[in-house]
Structure formats: structure tokens, C-alpha cells
Symmetry: D2
Subunit: 366 residues, 4 copies
């Protein structure tokens, strides 16, 4: 497995399992001189922490972060920043059925085959949602760096199951006004009722997360394979439970026509802008001066308390009932994960773009 | 720009501009001993060649490929395979307005800013659709390698604008029966009429491409950032004009519930399978024994013969009419590009997965 | 800084400063199914631990390693192995002159310029010899993996200052018979006296470390840039204080002639071997069936208790006397570091080589 | 094989075999806006061209380079620069013994094993010295970029067999005054006689190449694995026939003492310098304001016209006489290769270093 590193200059390497000693991330390539305190990171982690509302797992984890390296006297030093979150709520218990049965919708089966029969089955091991702690801790650092040059990133819940917030109904100031992080309290209330009814039915649901970024310099992203939107797609789909991603109008653009979908340019006081933003802030895979907009489709939580058909490790047909503490919908807790992966991707492309022209090279070395 | 390489072991590096000397790709990491002839690659390239139907540009390019290295006596040698396609139809012409005006929907503006004012504006330069020649040439090689171990990849047009082929109406044997590569000749006919009406109106449209892969070993993909679906998302969104991607039920899964979306496992004659395949062939980002299914949303062609508002290189508001030879819809020609990028991604992950367990290591070295 | 990761498949990422919270490494890409206990790693770390003899610093560090992830029930799981060594002996003290003066022979000055004036000066920060803890911990894991398929790696002290062990005087069984890890106790005694005399003179010395590896399969290494010897050169020169590296006869080969330097092949019982081994086990950058042999030149310890001329952070000419606990020669403690970097390089190339031919591919997937 | 790419931002990917269609390189990540003409590259290639003196092979190759992409109106555009050199002198001949016998000192044997028996044996295929054409073409581009910010790189022949130029006898203005590129015409004459005597004896010799670089900004190189000297070591040892590398005093430093080997700093008119330069321009793996100095040990040419013992492809003991056109010493032609690899390494680290501090980041984005 070599897939635990993301990014080329601002590079993050995550590690850790749900019920091991801890979870962490090493951030290599963060520029020196950024103000960084544990609290900056803790604030991000607290947004994904379990136990925040009736819709999240009762698992009780403080998820306290420790900065192990890379920061001296409150500033990053340019050396790797190692962040550690100890696992705490690992009560000894009977993992019996999880150890021997493959849970539908989970990674148990392909992990077992891939790794020659060896698997840390406790709580999903490496494929647990706790894996995202490393992403969020890195996202906090990336966001701080972006903020220094005027870039802001913000994610929120666009839809829970069939309940969605239309573009014209978005109120950014309501995002933190409900436990679902929806930009519309009324829709959030209906969505909450929907979740409650599913919980009563021992079922689960999914939703859509939208993420926007403002203040991007023009030209972020690298043509061809490392386009801004392509790397965001990888970043976001790499989050467990995400089954799709779209930029700007996305799938709706496939049903539009060129005369409507093209965003005309205009110039005002020497600043080039676009009259519309169907593209969602990228042209040819590079940031284009407009707001960056992406959406991620999140599938319903796989762990449900209903009895399901499955197969055992030894290949026998069987039934499984996944007990334990599970979120009926992971969308609200995944909001900060999408925001973090977006920030990490932008931070990396921002640093990559520094070497794009001799003009930039000479600004640094002459 | 460092974004011209894709893959870790099976690595492809593409180069070339629309109106330069040529377009090419270097494939590094293809295992030795694969039978490979120029014709194998040419067949793939012919599928994306212009001038195949009334819906594609009249630009006349032979797009003949030459193998420059890496093949000896009809077999790959394990060294880099360099493939070259010379540009031919570069008639000298007046690039006037393209040189000085930013085309809406195109990469002209952010390219100019990113590269300090320097840009090969002829035909879009590096951001031209011709850039995909390198991808398709590499896809041909990847597909041959996959075939050797029983993996097949197939893409087709799922929708043109509002005209789509429902899952139950798919006839794989009709894909090559119409110039739109749709798996249903009837829908293709209606879609063709739709395109014709847009052409008459000097407008363009988009669509959806679906790609399936069969015969995958279980466990392809690397947990966390290099998940099979995450890398496919990058691969596919990195194709110009793609604005979204989804795996399995994708965005529809976000509106489903867990009890319906989970795919139960069952075992028959010692083989583990899934009763349904809402997941589209991946669990936890690894291949799971079912068919791999993905869909890409393609935006309408940006080049349209209508007059559009825009801005000039010097920052003045202006109007532009994009003349020249353009496809009213690029979906049919992009089918083989999506198939190629899927094949390249699978080839790389297949080789990566060889080192996943000591069991594998010992199979090779003992 | 993006230089904290080494390797492509077996990838190690190290982090940590001399006087921060700890030092560690994340190993990504270790195959699943390798037996691994903390003791295996501790044994390696104990070989580089300070305080082992009168020739090493008195700094007292237990350097106890903790496995934080990637191992379950005594076996690697294929997920990242995170290893942590807490720093313990961080007595608060006066760092005054180190904070404000650049130590000759140390990284202080270029670090300060590179990172915009920010530097963790305590004990050298990231450029401290303690940085090698991560390398050695990773080397222990790599060595275990190599052992599983019959590869052994062994380093030792070839020379201390002018005192060296000629090839014909090497006794491998004496390596652990002296505190300098020399394969000849007599030479070690003279070298020890030499070191003692330098210590009395508040001076320091360097030496040469030799490393051999046996049991390599033929063909490890990737042609052109990632040749076995090229990556070993990077791996070994990346160790602080190493100023040169040579393979086989190395610099002596530059004074030889072809008829003597070429190693003739011969075949015996179907096994191809070389009659001599001037090449040191590589041909064209690939392992060639003979013993791998490399040597690293280690400079004298930079920290000496003599007064030296230098410059202050504010640019004034000044004098410095480096106090504190320093090794008069770091060669003995660096032996295990060279061995570890060699093992890590071999482990990575061993895994890379698995994908070299369709023959291998079919062994895994058919 | 994935070893054909070098560098992280300024990335070069080489391809091609000795007797295939051609040899080439793709340079990805060269900043836009650099003046670049084919002649700039041709001048470098001409320095390694065969047939320049009586000491080089009679093989007659024009080695004319064609720029296929990445340059528009005389300037780099930031997109990949693809360079092609067609092979011309491929006269059909009898490759009989090379095809069936492994040449001592060559890569034939390990290549055959690595790639499952498949090998382009014509002229050494990929492991031919012609492979360095791609390196030199890339080195020309890197050198141009370095020159723009005041960095110069210069290599020359330090020694041919036992004939060497002592530091105090170096005359840089004599380097091009003899066909061996030695900085001392007298030593060059003796060295020439030595080569002639070996040629008469159907034997060959090696030598040492020294390379210096001036004008480096302080701080190039990335701590730990990607140190300036570590990457230079990889770059230089990756050149075929190089068996060792040293920085500054190198192996001699291992016999020195700290009080002599440490280079004291001093400050003059606000500029920090070192009084001596035993370190060869790097401290802690970063450039330190002094001249960069490295040396590469080159083994004697493996192809000699004497009869040697070897083994056939089918494993039988045999004899081989390597006929054809070979250099009795490759050092003079390798001079520009060492210079090129040094330039490429510096160019990459120069671009990497741009992202080292927030100070730099703000210079670009604010």
C-alpha cells in the first residue's frame, strides 16, 4: 500500500487505525513562518468529533491533537509537522462477528483478499471513518496557509437524502445554526425529521456536500493530469462513502448547450471576471478568477442495525447484524473533511504554481 | 508545470500542442514481454480521429502513430515506450482573434495569467482536444496488458444532452452500430437529430459517457488517497470538458437509504459475489469482484460559431466569434479517451497491487 | 521542504527534531504478513543509541520505540506503520550561543537563510544526528522483509581516520567484538587510541563505513535514473556527515584498465557467477549475482570544543566554542544507519522489480 | 521499469535505445518565458558527439535535435518540452555474438534476467552510452535557466587513469584547449599518450570528472533525503560507468580532523562566506554560499577488443571478443553528461526551494 500520501509539495501522509494506538498525519512541505498552534488544529478536529448531536455516534473521543514536530516558538519551521491523536475509547469488547463476517457496504472483503487474509477488523481498522482525522488535521494547517494570502474555503451540507437547499435558498450565516451544517435552518429541520424516521427504522441515509473557495489567484492547477478539478476529484472521492463529484454545473452541464453554458468574460477597472459561473471556477483545469464550486455525493451509512445477507471469512453464506455506535448519516461530520481535502489540494497547487514562470523565478532569486 | 505524468508504476507522460510538430506520450513501467504492434495503437487512435461522421470536425488528420522505443521484435522490453503522432493539418492561417481574445469556456485566460503572458494560442495549444492523443495511445497499451490477464474495459455514450439510454435499454452490440457510440441505435438516432438542430443553430451540446470494466481481481486500489475510485475520478476529470464523475449509483446513492444501497454478499461454488451492484464495483476504494461502473459528465463544446462577449489580452471588453472546424459535441470522440484513462488507471493499480502482501512477494522471489 | 520521503513503493517518511517531542517515521507500502515486533526495531535502535562506549556522547536516551499503527496480532497489515520514539533527555539549558551563532561545519547558516530566519536551533533541530532514528527504525523493518527472502545486509567500520582494515584482514566475526564495529580487533585498538588522543586534543575524526549485501536476486534496480547504485548513493550521501560513496572498486576503478576491471562471467551447475567482483555487485545499475559492496566516507564530527571563527545571526564576525555532549567520531554509531539505508533501498527496489515483466504479472494474477 | 524520470518540479523523462528509431527526453516543469532555441541544445549535444578526436568511437552520428513541443516563438511556454534525436548510423550488421553472449562489464546479463529474457541487444539497447543524449539535451535547458539567475556550472576531466591535474595546476581556460577537456594541457598530453598505449594494447582506461557550480543562492537542497549532495550523488552515479562520487574533500575528509575540516565563517560587507571550502559548497545538505565541487569516478570502458571469458544466454561457458567502434576512455565525452546532470539537479532544487518559506509565498501572491 503506497496510497497514504497526497500532494507533491504540500504533502500529507496519514496513518492509523480505528482501534490502534492512535491516528496521525505528517505534513511535509509546509513553508516556514506560518503561525500555528494546537488550538488551530483542534478547532477543525472538533467539527468532525463524534457525539456532537443526536445524529452522530455516541462514541466518546476527545480527539486531542499533539504537535510532535515542525513547529518552534509558535511558527512552522519548514520541517515535517507530525500530528498525533491518541485513540481513547477502545473499550474491550466482542468483535466476534465483525472478525469473521464481511459487512455489506464496507471494505472488509476486498481488504482481506488484498492483504493475504490479514486485516485489523476492529472498527474497520484503516478503512474506518476515523482515518479522516489525519485529513482534517492537515486541512487545518492548509487553511491557515491559504488564509494568509486571502483564500477562504467553506463547505456545508447541500442535501440530506431528498432534502436539499436550492442555490437561491442558501444562507451562509445559517450553516452553524443547525447540527447538520445546512445553509438553511428550515430545510435542516425537515432533514432532521427525515433522519429521525430512518433511525427509528434502523436505516440510514446519505446526502450532498458543497464546498466553495474564494480569493484564488488565477492559474492554480497544472494542465493535463493535475488539473485543479482533477486533483479535487481525487481528493474528494478518496473520502470514504463519496460516490461522485462535480464541479460547477457538473452533471447538469451535460444537458445544457454551449451558448448557455459558456461563461462570458468582462473587464471592469482592469479586473477580468466572468458574467456567470457555470464552470464553477475552473477553465482548462486552472482557476479562472470566479468562485470555486464543487459537490460531493455521499452514500448512506453502510453500518445499519438491520440483518443483512453476507459471507463469512471462510466463504459460507451467513447473516450479519452490525451492532455498535454508528451515525445514521455521516454527511454533517464529513463536511469538514471535504473542506479539508479541498484546502490541502489548493495549498499544494498554490505552491506548485510558484514555479510556473521565469517571472516568478526572478521574483524570488533576483 | 509538472502535471504531465500520470501513474506510479505504469507511468505515462504526455506532451504536445495542437499546432506544434506533434503529440506524443512516453510510457514508462510497462512490463517486458507484452506483444505490441503499431496497429494495436492505431486502432485506438482511429476511434478518436476527427472526420469520422458529420458530427465531428472536418480537420483532416491521419494521426499515424510511430513507436520510437521500448519495443523489440514485437515485444515490449520493459524500457520506456515513446510514441509519436506528427501533426499534419497545420494550414497557415489567420489566428488573429484567437491570439488576442480569450475564448469563453476555454483555457486561454488562465493559461495566459499562469505562464506570465506566454501562450501558444494556435488551436488551443496544449489545452486542445488533440492533447488526448497521448492518453489514447497509452490506453491502447494498457488495454493490451489488461487483456492478457482477462480484464476488459468498454466505454460508450450514455447520453447526448437530454437523450439517454436507460440501463435496461443498453445493447452492447449496438455501440459500434451508430456514429455516436451509443448502446441503443434508436436513442442514437434521436440524439443525432438533436445535434443536427443545434448545429443549424450554431450551438453545441454535451452528454454522459459510461465506462465498465470486467474481470478485475479483487483488491485493486490503494486505501486512503489512491483508492481505485479516487484515481479514476482524477483520471476522468482530467480530460478536458469533463465536469463530473460518479461511481456505481453515484449521485443517486446520495438520495438512497442504507438498507437498499448496501449490496449483500453471497457465495456460490466458493466464489464470493454481490447480489446487487449499487457500489459500482468498489468497496473502501478497492475492486470488489463486481463490474466496475463509472460515468463522466461532459460539458457542451465551448467553441461555437455564435458571437460571444469576452475580454482581450490587453483587458478590453470585446466580442468574439470562434470560427474554424469544431465538433458540435465531443462526447463520441471522448468515449475512447474515457476508456483509455480507465485502462491506464487499472494497469497502474494492477502493478501496484503486486507488492501488497508477503504472499505475493514470495511468489516472485522464492 | 519536501525531502522527508524516500522510496517509491516501500516509502519512508521521517520527522522530528533533536529537542522536540520526539522523532518518528511512517513506513508506507510494507507488504502485509510480515512478522514484526517492537523488539525487532528496538534491537536496531540500540545499535545507534548514545552512551554505548567512551567514544560516544554521554547524552542518555532510552530511544524506546512504540508501534502506533500498521501491525495487528504481530503481523504487518499492509497499512502505514507509524513508529514513535519520544525524546527524553531534554534538560532545559542555555542555548544562547547556538541560537545566535552559526556553528562551522553545521547546517545552521543555510537553514536560517532557507527558512526565512526561522530555525529550531536546539541541538541542531532537524539536522541533528537524532534524525537518523527514523531511518534506523525503518531499516529494521526493511531488513526483516529482506531476510524473509534470503537477503542479508551488513555494515561495519572500514576505517577510522588513517586506520583502516584491508580487505584481506577482514574478520566478520570480530565486528561486534569492539566498540567501533571494526572487522578486526587489532586495528580497532589502534583506532581507539587515535580517537583518545584526539579527544584529549579537543578534536575529532571521521572514517569509512563499508556495507555488503548477499542473496540479492539478479536484476534489482531500475535502468537510467533509479539504478541500484544511484539510489544507494542518494540513500547513503543523504546521511549527515557522509561526503562520498563508492561501489565496488569505486575511485580505484578510475585508475584501473578494462582488461583488469571487467569481471568475467562463468557458469557452474547452471548458475551464472562472476570470477571477480570489481563492480561490487552491479552491472548497468542492476544487481548482478555477486555480493553488493559500497563504502561511505564520513567526515570528522563538526562539533568540537575548540574555539572557532564564525558569524552571528546578525552578521557580525565572532568566535564560538561548541560545548555539550558530542561524539569524537560518529562512524561507529553511523554503521547501523548506513546498513539501514541500504536495506530500505533494497526493499523498495525489490518491490519495484516485481512489476518488471509479464512473466511476473502472470505469476500473481493467473 | 519506472526509473526513467528524474526530478520533482523540473522533471526529465528520457527514452530510447542505441539502435532504435531515436533517443529523446521530455522536460516537464520548465518555467514559461525562457529563451530557447534548438542551437542552445545542439551546442551541448555536440560536446558529447562521437567522432571528435582520435580517442572517441568512429561511429558517425549527427545527433541533431528537434524541439517537438513546449516552445513558441522562441520561448518556453511552461508545457512539456519534447526533444528528439533520430538515430542515423544504424548500419545493418551481424549482432550474432552480442545477441547470444553476455559482455563482461555490461548490463546484458542482469537486463536479460530482469526482463524475462527479453532484451534489445543491439548496441546495448537502453543501457548504451547513447542513453545520455536525453540527459545532455535536458542539461542544456537547465543550464540556460540557471544562467538567467546567475548560476554557472562547469565540468572537466580531473584525471585519466593515473594522470591527474592537481588543484593548484588547474587552468580553467585550458579546458577546451585539448580533446580530453582537461584544465591543463601538459597533463592532457601525457594522458593522451597513456590512452594511445592502451589502444595499441586493445585495452581501455577510466578517470575522474570534476564539476563546479558558482552563483548558487544559499539554501538549495531539501533536508534529509533530498539533500543537494544526495541528489547530486544519485544524478551522477546514475550515469553509466560512474562508480563513485564525492563532494568537496570527499574521501580525503574521512582521514582529516574536525579542527582542519570545519570551514570557518566570516562576514565582509554584510556577506557571509567561508574561509575554506573543504565541504565543497554544502552544509547539512544545503548550498552554503561557497562554490559547489563534486567528483565522479569513471571506470574503464567495458568494451575491449580482447578475448574475455563469459557465459552465453543459454548458460554455457564461452569466450567473447567485443568488436565494433568503442571509446578507449569515455571520460572526455562524459564530461558534459556530468555537467548536465548537475545542472538538472540544481534547476529542480532551485524551483523546489521557491516554496520553502511564507516569505517567498507572499512575494509571489501578494
Amino acid at each position: 500500500m503506497s496510497g497514504s500520501t497526497f500532494g507533491k509539495i504540500f504533502r500529507i501522509t496519514t496513518w492509523g487505525e480505528s482501534h490502534g494506538s492512535g491516528i496521525g498525519v505528517v505534513i511535509d512541505g509546509c513553508p516556514a513562518g506560518l503561525d500555528l498552534k494546537e488550538k488551530d488544529i483542534q478547532d477543525f478536529l472538533d467539527r468532525r468529533k463524534p457525539g456532537q448531536s443526536k445524529y452522530t455516534t455516541k462514541r466518546n473521543e476527545a480527539d486531542s491533537v499533539e504537535i510532535l514536530s515542525g513547529v518552534f516558538e509558535g511558527k512552522t519551521t519548514g520541517t515535517p509537522i507530525s500530528l498525533l491523536v491518541r485513540n481513547q475509547d477502545q473499550r474491550p469488547r466482542d468483535y466476534g462477528s465483525i472478525a469473521t463476517l464481511f459487512r455489506p457496504g464496507h471494505a472488509d472483503y476486498p481488504f482481506t483478499v488484498k492483504y493475504g487474509g490479514i486485516r485489523d477488523y476492529r472498527g474497520g481498522g484503516r478503512s474506518s471513518g476515523r482515518e479522516t482525522i489525519g485529513r482534517v488535521a492537515a486541512g487545518a494547517v492548509a487553511s491557515l496557509m491559504l488564509k494568509e494570502i486571502g483564500i477562504t474555503v467553506q463547505a456545508y451540507t447541500k442535501a440530506i437524502g431528498p432534502h436539499y437547499v436550492a442555490d437561491e435558498d442558501i444562507h451562509y450565516d445559517q450553516i452553524n445554526g443547525n447540527s447538520l451544517y445546512m445553509p438553511n435552518n428550515e430545510v435542516a429541520e425537515k432533514a432532521g425529521e427525515y433522519i429521525s424516521s430512518l433511525m427509528a427504522d434502523r436505516d440510514s441515509c446519505g446526502g450532498v456536500i458543497e464546498c466553495i473557495a474564494d480569493g484564488l489567484p488565477v492559474g492554480l492547477g497544472e494542465p493535463v493530469f493535475d488539473k485543479l478539478d482533477a486533483l479535487l476529484a481525487q481528493a474528494v472521492v478518496s473520502i470514504g462513502a463519496v460516490k461522485g463529484v462535480e464541479i460547477g454545473d457538473g452533471f447538469a452541464a451535460s444537458r445544457s448547450v454551449g451558448s448557455r453554458n459558456n461563461d462570458p468574460f468582462f473587464s471592469e477597472n482592469g479586473v477580468v471576471s466572468k458574467k456567470t459561473n457555470h464552470a464553477g471556477g475552473t477553465l482548462g483545469g486552472l482557476s479562472d478568477s470566479s468562485r470555486l464550486i464543487l459537490r460531493a455525493a455521499v452514500k448512506p451509512t453502510s453500518s445499519i442495525a438491520r440483518t443483512q445477507h453476507t459471507v463469512s471469512v471462510s466463504g459460507e453464506n451467513s447473516e450479519i447484524t452490525v451492532l455498535g455506535r454508528h451515525d445514521p448519516v455521516i454527511v454533517p461530520r464529513a463536511v469538514v473533511v471535504v473542506e479539508s481535502m479541498t484546502a490541502v489540494t489548493l495549498a499544494d497547487l498554490l505552491l506548485q504554481n510558484m514555479a510556473s514562470s521565469m517571472e516568478h523565478v526572478k521574483k524570488i532569486y533576483r
